[in-house]
Symmetry: C2
Subunit: 303 residues, 2 copies
């Protein structure tokens, strides 16, 4: 059970970090979740889904990071309107803390650039995303937080019980399988960043210079990694767990202590991996094992 991990007056705040629990029954133990979203586009479906989560609202703090300059204006306005509505509503329905950051660095999200640069651009883009995630994390993680839920702004459908369903596995890092709906009732794999390492990729990386990166999901680099999206069994037990070596950030539950221990999102190649995949590697190096749930699905939007 939870005990206050703060004593003292407002002038001097004393925290006993060992009183902070991170358990398989986070609601009963009143564990606080920091829900973090890098947000380049505001999707109503994401917001509706977020408001629909049935984890106690008073235990969820929200953090967003938006692109700077012109690019950030529309998402900032849309997010603000959505937030205002909730945060001026009944006290019970408000989030205890909401932080919105405008990043202080540019980050090209343009998708219309020449295809031949796609890989080079991917490195810059993912590196920028890592920077955004780190800035957001360092600005919002406080001493009360037990869990960090990374949720991309284009995840528009999850089970309402997402947080407790993931937390119940009591893993340091855990992620659902991210799919996409299309053509009526069909679904298809979406997030290729949840994977198991392969000998081919290991060999590939061994012969690379420190600055080179391997990305998953590109036809020109055959890694033969086993991707979690292909491990799903239709109708399979949603509680099936699988150990992962790389993870994506579409919806990723992390024990806050993993981040406090220094596991962040590499902006430069870390064992030839960056951003969320690099995070998984770094966490593993620190002794934390990432897990995935092949049969527990969340959905990326489709436009």
């Amino acid at each position: 059970p939870w005990r206050s991990n703060r004593v003292g007056t407002g002038k001097i705040n004393r925290y006993f970090m060992s009183n902070l629990t991170t358990t398989s029954d986070p609601i009963r133990n009143r564990e606080r979740v920091l829900l973090l979203t890098p947000l380049a586009r505001f999707h109503q479906g994401y917001w509706d889904n977020l408001l629909n989560l049935d984890y106690p609202r008073e235990l969820i703090e929200l953090g967003f990071i938006l692109p700077n300059g012109k690019e950030g204006e529309t998402p900032a306005r849309e997010l603000s309107q959505a937030l205002q509505k909730v945060q001026t509503g009944s006290i019970k329905s408000r989030f205890p803390k909401v932080t919105v950051l405008s990043q202080d660095f540019g980050l090209s999200t343009s998708q219309i650039e020449a295809e031949r640069h796609a890989l080079k651009k991917q490195k810059d883009r993912r590196s920028g995303m890592a920077k955004a995630r780190n800035s957001l994390l360092l600005a919002t993680l406080n001493t009360r937080i037990s869990w960090v839920l990374w949720l991309d702004s284009d995840i528009i459908e999850t089970p309402r019980t997402l947080i407790q369903d993931l937390a119940k596995h009591n893993k340091d890092i855990i992620t659902p399988n991210c799919f996409q709906r299309f053509g009526g009732n069909q679904i298809r794999p979406f997030d290729f960043n949840n994977w198991h390492e392969s000998d081919t990729a290991i060999d590939l990386m061994e012969n690379m210079s420190d600055d080179e990166v391997v990305f998953e999901g590109y036809a020109d680099i055959a890694t033969y990694r086993l991707l979690m999206v292909y491990e799903r069994e239709a109708g399979g037990d949603p509680n099936v767990e699988t150990m992962l070596d790389g993870v994506g950030g579409t919806s990723l539950l992390v024990k806050a202590n993993v981040h406090r221990d220094g596991a962040v999102f590499p902006t430069i190649p870390f064992y030839h991996l960056i951003e969320t995949e690099g995070f998984a590697k770094m966490a593993k190096r620190l002794g934390y094992q990432p897990w995935g749930l092949p049969n527990y699905l969340v959905y990326h939007c489709n436009e």
Copy 2:
């Protein structure tokens, strides 16, 4: 000039990180400094020196992390008493924010263990220190902070103008030279973690497994690195700058954005380096250059 980087109500905090400046004239630009100390022992000399810093008090936030359990009791009591005195004093003399963390992990600081384990113990100890620094950083770094000053609790003498003297160089990472007074009027080198990489060390590391670490200052590993402590010229210009590859944490000024970018203290070998030395390496990989001031001295206590 500084502009508020916060807008909105307490319910929704919006921050424009690009309004946060980090300049060579931090007092004029009203830049906030986060002074962080991992503190296993409370030294009155450290505290007196800290209170003596003439950077505007209202621009300094303090953060401490203490050992857990029995080990942390004495320093916690001594630090509390010292803090209470200041924070209940005149409003003008108070620090705007003080955070005291008790770490949630053990960390053996005992020095009486068998010498043959010294190197192995050093790895564990430095790894624990890295963990402590990361936890402290992630708990205290907020969106108002421009600079982070790492100051060890056994640094008992610095120029009163330490912060502005270091900031004036406008470097991403900068450190004074750490010496120790002894035998009356003499001084001797103390912190060997500020160094320039050597070819010998590079060769050494090339043949190591990923988990091996090179520590500086151990006779059994001859790295032939050039140490900043030996670069000092008595009576030399205190503004002389030198580029470093490894840094210590005795008194280290870091632009907060370097940390926000994901440069933390590796608890596990990062290019065969951990803690502050690993931080320097990580920062360099991220594109930030650490600097040292060979002729600008601060003093470690001597007992």
